[in-house]
Structures are given as C-alpha cells and as structure tokens.
Amino acid sequence: MELIVASSIGILTAGGVYLLLRLRTFPVILGVALLSYAVNVFLFASGRLAIDQSPILAKYGEASYTDPLPQALVLTAIVISFGMTAVLVMIGLGAYLESDTDRIDIEPEKDDAEAKNERLV
C-alpha cells in the first residue's frame, strides 16, 4: 500500500512538473492541478496510512484512530487549492482575451529595458 501511495504521489508530481514547464497557459493550469493532487496526498500521507481507522470517535469501547491533524490540514488545502486554481484560470483566460495569445513567455520589450538603463545612470 505504501508503495502504491508513494508511486502515485511521484507520478502525479512528475506529470504536474512536466505540464508546468509547457509554454501555454492551459497545460500549466492542468499541471498546477496535478501538482495540487500530489501535494495534498503527500501531506495526507504524512499522517501515515491506516485502513478502517477513521478519526470518528467510537461511542462504545476502545478503538484505534488514524492521525486526524494532516486530514484537517489537507481538507482546507483542497479548498484553497481550488481557489488558487480558479484565480489562475481567470488570469489565464483574461490574458488570452486581452492579448489574443495564451503563450506564457513575455517577449522582453526593448524600450522598457533601455528606459531602465537610463534611469540607473
């Protein structure tokens, strides 16, 4: 089981990083989404894996529970990463609609650099 989780985190990270390095906004957003999965599962796994030990207190008798703290943190992380993805999507969409291209590389503007040079003198 541990191998399965670790390898899943690894492959999600690898996929996320690869897509993150693409040159258009949409694959980058997909990459961020994959990476968020990887990070969330990674954080969750830091509480170690357990089966049938949900952190819901049993009414009768003693029971063992998995670590609830990483779960609580990951729960908010999932919601926050959704918020972040949403902002990213909106920025990507806005950039595309404003400039008619969804490339993410900025061509350096020569005038700008020259103006900077002058200011530094």
């Binding site: 089981m1 541990e2 399965i4 989780v5 670790a6 390898s7 899943s8 985190i9 690894g10 492959i11 999600l12 990270t13 690898a14 996929g15 990083v17 690869y18 897509l19 390095l21 040159l23 949409f26 694959p27 957003i29 997909l30 999965y37 969330n40 599962v41 969750f44 796994a45 830091s46 170690r48 894996l49 030990q53 952190p55 819901i56 207190l57 529970y65 998995t66 609830p68 703290l69 779960q71 609580a72 908010t76 999932i78 919601v79 926050i80 959704f82 918020g83 993805t85 949403a86 999507v89 909106m90 920025i91 969409l93 595309y96 609609l97 404003e98 008619d100 590389d105 350096p108 530094l120």
Partner: protein, 952 residues
C-alpha cells in the same frame, strides 16, 4: 519607571509625532509651518533642560517599555552625559536650522515636506543617542540613513542631488548593515542587547575571540557614517542638499553619529592595539587628506565639506588614542566643531543665497557689501583655524597636546607631525575662506548684487558665533557639560579643567608652527593650486560609479539568465534546485532503518492505482487535446477521493469529490473561450529536458514519501483525539480540529478563499471593460453550441433535484461535528446544486431568482465566523474558544448545540459565496459572449434559426 524616564520617552517620541504637523500646517502658510516644526523641537529641548541638572550631577535616567522581551527587544532609552550633550546639540541646532530654513527655502520649495523630513531625521538622530538597546539603536541608525537620503535629495530636479542622495544612502546604509552584524556579535558575546550591560562587560568583550570581527564590523558602520577615509567621498557629494540640510546633517548631527558611536562604545571596545591602530590611523589619514583637498576646493560648500571630513578624522584619531585626556579633548571638540562649522555652513548658504554663486573664484570683497555676514564668517573661520580666544583653539591645543606624546609603531614623531600638518592645512583653508571670499577688492561681476540678508537668516549663525566667543574666552562655562559627557565616555570620574593658557608646552609650539605655516601656504595658493591640478588624483565618484555599474551589470547578467520573463525557465530552475537540495540533504545524513511494515494491497486498490497511472500518463501525453485532458483529470480526482475514503479519511473523500466537480466545471467554462488545442511548439530537446526534470522531481518526491511512510513519527494528535469530545463536543475529530482546535487557521483560510472569489470577480469586471469584451462579442462561438440551449429534461431534473440537494447539503452540514461532513463540504454541495440551475435553466433566469448577492454571502460568512470567535471574549475567554450544550426538544432526539457550529456556518457561507462568485464571474463572460441571453426558463435559441433562414 521614574518621572524622568517618562519624560525621556516623550522626548524620544516627540519629533516623530511632530513630523505629522508640518505637512498639514503648510496649508496655513510658511510661518505657521515653521512654527509647527519648532514647537515639538522646543518642547523636547525644554524637557531635556529639565532633566539636565540630574544628569550633570552624574545620574543616568532610564525609561523603558517592554516589547518582545523574549527576543531581547525593548524600547528602552537612557540619558547620560554623552546622550545629554548630543541630544542638546541635535535639538538646539535643530531649532536654529528650522529658523534658518524658513528664510532660506524659496516659495517654490515644498516646505512642509522639508520640515517633515527634518523632524523625521531629528527623531532618528535622537533615537541613536538615547537608545539603551542596541537593536533599537540599529533601527534608528538606518532611519537616519533613510531620512538623510530624503533630505539630501530634497531638490529632486537636480541630478547631483539625486546622485548624492543615492551615494550617501549606499555608503552609509551599507556600513549600517555591517554594523548590524557587528552589534549582533557583540550582543551574543555579552548575552544582552542592553547598552548599559554591554558597556560594563568591556573586559569580557575584549577577551573574546569574536572581538576583532565585531570591532571591524562596528567600525565599518561608524566610519561610513562619519565619512572616514576611504568612505569620505560621499560627504562632499551630499552637499547638493539645501544648505540648512548640510549645516544640520553634515556638521552637527549625522556625520557625528559615527563619532558618537565610537565614543559610546569606547568603554567596551577601546584600549586594545587593534582599536588604537585601526581608529587612530584612519583618523590621521582622514584628517590630513580631508584638509589637503579642502584647501583646493573652489566650491564654498565643498571646502567646508572636506574640512568637516578632516575634523571628523581629528575626532576619530582622538578617540583612537584611547586615553582619558584624549576622550575629554574629543568631547570638547565635538561641541566646538558644532558651533563654528554650523555657523560656517549657514554663512556659505547666505553667500550663496545673496550672490547666487558658491564659487570662490567668483567671490571676494564681500566685506563691505555684507558686513554682518563677514563678521559671523570671520569669527567662525578663525575658530576653525584654531586662533586663540575662539573655542576652536582650546580643543585644538588639547588635541596637539595629546598627539605630542603618542607613539605610533614605536615612532614618537609620526603622530605629532601629522597632527601639526593637519592643523597647518586647517589654518590655510580657514584663512582662505576669509581672504578669498570676504577680503580683497570689491568686484563688479557678481552674478547677483549682494547685501546682508534679513535678520531671520543671520540670527542662527550669529547665535552660534556668540557661543564660539563665549566658550573661547570663558571655557569653564562648558566645563560641566564636557565633564559629564567625558565621564560617560570613559566610565571614569574625571575633573578636567578647560583653560586658555597651558604654559609653554610642545602643543603651543606646534600650534604656532601651524598658524605661521598655514598663512605661508595660503600666500602661495595660486601656485600650489596649479600644481594640484596638474597632479593625477583618483576621482572617488568615478570609482564609485564604476563599482555600482559593475554590480548592476553582474546582477543584470544573472537576472537575464535566470529570470528572463519565461516562467517555464525559472520554474525549471526552481525545481532542479529543490531536487538538488533534497539530494544534498539525503546524501549528507542518510536514513534510519524503517520501523513500519507494508499494508496489504487488495485487488481493487491495484486496479485504482493502474487507473491513476494510466490517466496521469494520458493527461501528459494527450494534453494538446484540452477537453480530453480535462476529462482525464476528472478521473484522477475521483480515484484520489476513492483513495481517501479507503485510507480512513472520509472527510477528505467528500471534499475532494465535490471540489473535483466544481473545478472541472470551472475549467470547462473557461475552456469555452480558449483555444481547444495546444500547439506542439516545444522542440524535442526541450521536451526531453522537461521530461528529465519532471522525472527527477517525481522520483524525488516518491522516494521521500516512501521513506517517511515506512517510519513512525511522534504526533501531537493524541491530544486532539483525547479532547475532541470532552473539549470540543464532537466526535468527528477532523471537523473539531477545523472549527475548534485550529479554528484560527480555518478563519484565515476562509478569508483567503473569499478574497480569491473577489479577485476573480474584479478580474472579470476589468476584462469586461477592456478590449477583451469587444473580442468576446466579435468572436463567433456558435459552432460549438448546441441549438437546444436548455434541454427540457435537464431543466426538469435539476429543478426536482434542487430541494433534494439542499437537504443533502443541510444534512452534511448538521452532521459535520460528529460524522463526516461540515461547512466546507456542505458549501460545495449546495454550490453544485445552484450551479446546475445555471447550466440547465440559463444565466438570466437563475440570476433573476437570486435573492442574495454572493459578495454579501462571503462577507456575512467571515463576519459570522469572526463574531463567533469574538463572542468568547464576552466570557473572558481567548478568541475562538468554543462552548457546547445538549438540548432536548421533544419530538427530536437529544442533540448537541455548539458555538463551533455557528463558526461552521460562517465557513459554509464563505465557501458557498466564493465558489458561486467564481462561477458566476465566468458565466457573466459567457453572457457577454453569447450576445442573446435567454429570459425564459427553457427558451430555444432564437438567434440561430433566424440566421439560418436569412442565409438560405
């Protein structure tokens, strides 16, 4: 804290409070503005005078406000003799400068700004001399650098002003950074950041192996501030400042900060060979070099600037001697230098103001035209030259006396000779100031017809020259102040006697030699100047500029490689660095043996794993087809939520599945307006590079995850498990952690989510006002639109589902405290239910039925959560302490009511509002792009058939 301590705190704060006034008062006129600057200074000075008698008796007044005692940070001030001397100088001269600047600045200058900067600077200077905590002192130290930057660059239209200000900031600020390091070392050696503790631990400090690094770093700060060689070059360039600034900062206060610091640290640092050779040698070199350059400067202010450099060198040298008599001489000279140099700067300012030039070559003969100015300037300059009956003579004699019996590397002559040369050059340039500016024939080619200025302008320097003469004739008047300050510097109980006639001593002969030699030198000035010009000299500004240019070029080269505007490049650099650091960490320490075994893998899990792998690989390989990639991402998300459910995390599974749904919807909506395909534009080399980086990162993370999964940890969760029911009143520990144990985190997180929603809304608005709106309207999206925009089946199903979904949402919300669920999930579930109405029945229809704005919902959520937390205050508990009780309402079973549920309601509302605001924003864009917006619930798109008809 005593009354004195309280007064001291008020003195320290007054200038900063006062700095708020002039900027406002300038609207009431220039006089009111000047008065509003003078009032806080005057008040502070009065309070200082009230405290003075006690300090002169030898008491030390302390005032302290604790701030972060754990870090050794407290706002603690103390006033001893040295602090009194400097604070008096800062406030007294500050008052005179306020008066002088009122008449000096012209109508076009923003006077309110000037006075605000001046008071800020004054406050920072006062802070330095009064601080008892060295960390506090460092803050004030940097504040003087910053506020002097503003003052030097006050005439923003002058390029010299801007360059001078930048140079001053770079040099003094840089030195300040070095000093921070030095002070921290010092604090570590002593184990306290309190100056009073440090000053008493001199032996401990000098014995420490860290003494030399600390000494050098602190001296770097002092030398840069006090313009010691080789950092002297910034001071003349700072003369581009208005003259009141030069008179204040560069004669009386800021440049003395370095000297002050050396005097302050004298008991802790002085008395070693390292101190003697570094400080004395620097002082001598600076003294002679500064005086030499001053002699050949034609700009009046440059002459004074270099003479200041020279005198600062003299003070540094005296402190370097490390003897008690030298410290007395230094303290006395600080007072004398202040009086004559501030008067001289103001005189130079008056000459500049009246003749419109500061070039000595174009001046001369002003004696008849400006008699008052002549008188003031001559008295001050004679004092600077060290002529008897003026105060400069007294301290110079003491300096020469000390120099005459100081050995330097076993040579008894080096120091006396250099000191005499310094004094000689000082006489020469002082006399030049008198002879070449005021004496000589009256000229008829002044740029402006000169005459004496109004009283307001000459009152301040006149007062200072009166002091020059009074101290010069009756030095015993200054004795008490000098004694108090010298005792504070040396930590001893000295009784110095200041007098004019010391008898025929070596110092007298040196002094006579200096005066005669100086006069002789000046008589040959024309010849010497030719020689000086012919000699090659390094130009400090050019060297500084080249240095700065080289640093900028290096920084730019690095930036252009690493940060060239392509995000993929620096993400790649970042990833490689992170993986590399992980590798270093791993290879340097290794791993302990695993302590956990592997859990078994049932077949279903294996299938899920294969699905996840295939989906991820497919997303990467098929990402050019954007729709396909999205669907595959959905599969991954679902697999992960199934995994959460299997691995004992039902709350996470619920959250993940609902977030997944919302995310995919959001991406689908966005994709509608974006290209459906990603072009294949990366070269195979680039793809290979990215592939290697990605595999490296993935492999690293997988290894790390596997490594920690196989090992046990200590966790703090036992506390949560044990107290969840007793303290939080809930059996779902995850939910109790969210709304109770870590409620503050959650509170922050819902605020972030709310902000994200508002950001998206704001971007949408900005977009719809710009060119994007036109592009949306002009682009035809109809080729991928279904004719039946709102299929009847879907409309009916979603409306039937709506109440059910809401009940499910409420159920999830209510059970959250004890069973999987809670505000986050409930918010998402209801958001999806509402979203379905948008999709099925259309934007306008849904919008028309919306009763509450989503912004309001976000705000309401945050407010409810916040108020719930604040409610605990009413019961005297900390923020977000929760309470619960059990209630028995007859038809229902006994149930529990906790304040945490109210908090969860806030979470629920914020999540719902934020998610809906995000999706609503995207739908608004769709509305703009669609052109026709449906009004009825199930309208058939009227646009298309009509178009079809006309086309046919």
């Amino acid at each position: 804290m005593s009354i004195g301590g309280a007064i001291l705190l008020i003195i320290a704060v007054l200038p900063f409070v006062g700095a708020l006034l002039p900027g406002l008062m300038i609207r009431a006129g220039r006089n009111v503005c000047a008065i509003s600057t003078a009032v806080p200074t005057f008040l502070a000075l009065t309070m200082l005078i009230v405290l003075a008698p006690a300090v002169l008796r030898g008491e030390v007044i302390q005032g302290e406000i604790e701030w972060l005692p754990q870090l050794g940070l407290s706002a603690s001030f103390f006033l001893d003799g040295l602090g009194l001397l400097f604070a008096g100088m800062i406030l007294g001269v500050g008052l005179l400068i306020t008066l002088y600047a009122r008449f000096y600045l012209s109508g076009e200058d923003p006077m309110g700004q000037f006075y605000t900067y001046l008071l800020l600077f004054q406050g920072a200077m006062l802070g330095i001399v009064l601080s008892d905590n060295i960390l506090l002192l460092l803050i004030f130290w940097e504040l003087t650098s910053l506020s002097s930057f503003l003052l030097i660059g006050f005439w923003k239209h002058l390029p010299e002003g801007r360059q001078g200000a930048r140079m001053a900031l770079a040099v003094t600020g840089g030195g300040g950074l070095a000093m921070i390091a030095g002070m921290l070392i010092l604090g570590n050696i002593v184990g306290s950041y309190n100056l009073t503790d440090i000053l008493q631990a001199g032996d401990l400090i000098r014995a420490s192996e860290w003494y030399l690094p600390a000494l050098i770093l602190i001296l770097l700060g002092a030398f840069t501030k006090s313009a010691q060689f080789p950092f002297h070059f910034w001071l003349p360039h700072a003369m581009a400042a208005p003259t009141p600034v030069s008179a204040y900062l560069h004669s009386a206060t800021m440049v003395k900060a370095g000297v002050f610091l050396m005097a302050r640290m004298w008991p802790a640092l002085a008395g070693t060979d390292a101190w003697f050779y570094i400080v004395t040698t620097t002082g001598i070199v600076t003294m002679v070099l500064g005086a030499l350059i001053a002699l050949f400067k034609d700009d009046l202010k440059a002459l004074l600037a270099f003479s200041t450099v020279s005198h600062l060198g003299l003070l540094t040298m005296l402190l370097g001697f490390g003897t008690q008599a030298a410290a007395v001489a230094a303290v006395f000279h600080i007072i004398n230098h202040l009086t004559f140099k501030a008067a001289l700067f103001m005189t130079a300012g008056i000459v500049d103001h009246e003749t419109h030039t500061r070039d000595i070559k174009r001046l001369g003969g002003l004696r008849r035209l400006m008699p008052i100015t002549f008188l003031i300037g001559t008295v001050a300059a004679l004092s600077m030259a060290g002529i008897p009956l003026f105060n400069g003579f007294l301290s110079k004699e003491m300096m020469l006396e000390e120099a005459s019996h100081t050995d330097w590397f076993n040579s008894p002559y080096a120091v006396p000779i250099m000191a005499t040369i310094g004094a000689l050059l000082s006489v020469a340039y002082s006399l030049r100031f008198i002879f070449h500016v005021f004496l000589g024939p009256v000229r008829d080619d002044y740029p402006h017809k000169p005459h004496d200025p109004p009283f307001g302008l000459w009152a301040a320097p006149a007062l200072l020259t009166v002091l020059v003469i009074v101290i010069g004739v009756a030095p015993f008047l200054a004795e008490r102040v000098v004694t108090a300050a010298a005792n504070a510097v040396t930590g001893a109980d000295l009784q110095p006697h200041l007098k004019i006639w010391h008898g025929v001593t070596p110092a007298l002969w040196m002094s006579i030699a200096a005066v005669v030699g100086g006069a002789a030198l000046l008589s040959q000035h024309r010849l010497l100047q030719k020689l000086w010009i012919a000699l090659p000299r390094p130009e400090a500004k050019a060297i500084f500029d080249r240095l700065v240019a080289a640093i900028v070029a290096t920084a730019r080269a690095i930036t252009e490689v690493s940060h060239n505007g392509a995000i993929s490049r620096y993400l790649a650099i970042f990833t490689v660095t992170a993986v590399g650091l992980g590798w270093i960490a791993y290879s340097s320490s290794g791993l302990s043996a695993p302590t956990r075994g592997l859990l078994p893998v049932p077949p279903v899990v294996a299938v899920g794993w294969i699905m996840l792998i295939v989906a991820t690989v497919s997303v990467v390989s098929m990402h050019h087809h954007r729709f396909r990639a999205l669907i595959l991402i959905g599969i991954i998300g679902l697999t992960i939520s199934a995994g959460f459910a299997y691995l004992s995390a039902p709350d996470l599974a619920l959250t993940q599945i609902s977030v997944e749904t919302v995310t995919i919807m959001l991406l689908l909506l966005a994709l509608h307006f974006m290209p459906k395909m990603t072009p294949k534009e990366s070269s195979s080399g680039l793809r290979l590079r990215d592939g290697v980086i990605a595999l490296g990162a993935g492999g690293g993370v997988a290894t790390l995850a596997y490594a920690f999964l196989m090992r046990d940890i200590e966790t703090i969760s036992d506390y949560h498990l044990a107290n969840s029911y007793e303290g939080g009143g809930g059996t779902n520990v995850v939910n109790v952690i969210l709304v109770d144990f870590r409620g503050y985190d959650t509170f922050g997180e819902i605020i972030v989510l709310g902000i994200a929603g508002l950001v998206i809304y704001a971007i949408m608005h900005a977009l719809l006002d710009g060119p994007a709106a036109r592009r949306l309207k002009n682009t035809d999206y109809s080729q991928n639109r279904s004719r039946d925009r709102h299929p009847m089946m879907m409309v009916v199903v979603t409306r039937v589902l709506m109440p059910i979904a809401i009940v499910v949402g409420l159920y999830i919300f209510l059970r959250g405290h004890n069973q999987p669920g809670g505000g986050f999930v409930a918010g998402l579930v209801i958001a999806i239910a509402l979203l379905m109405q948008y999709m099925a029945s259309g934007f306008a229809w849904t919008q028309a039925r919306q009763r509450i704005e989503y912004h309001t919902m976000i705000g309401l959520g945050v407010v409810i959560a916040g108020l719930t937390g604040a409610g605990a205050w009413l019961f005297g508990r900390p923020f977000l302490t929760s309470a619960y009780t059990y209630i028995n309402l007859p038809p229902i079973e006994e149930f529990e009511l906790a304040t945490a549920m109210l908090f969860d309601l806030g979470v629920f509302l914020t999540v719902l509002g934020a998610v809906m605001l995000m999706l609503y924003s995207l739908s608004r864009i769709a509305g703009v792009a669609g052109g026709t917006v449906n009004v009825g619930p199930m309208d058939y798109d009227p646009g298309e058939p009509a178009q079809d008809k006309t086309e046919r």
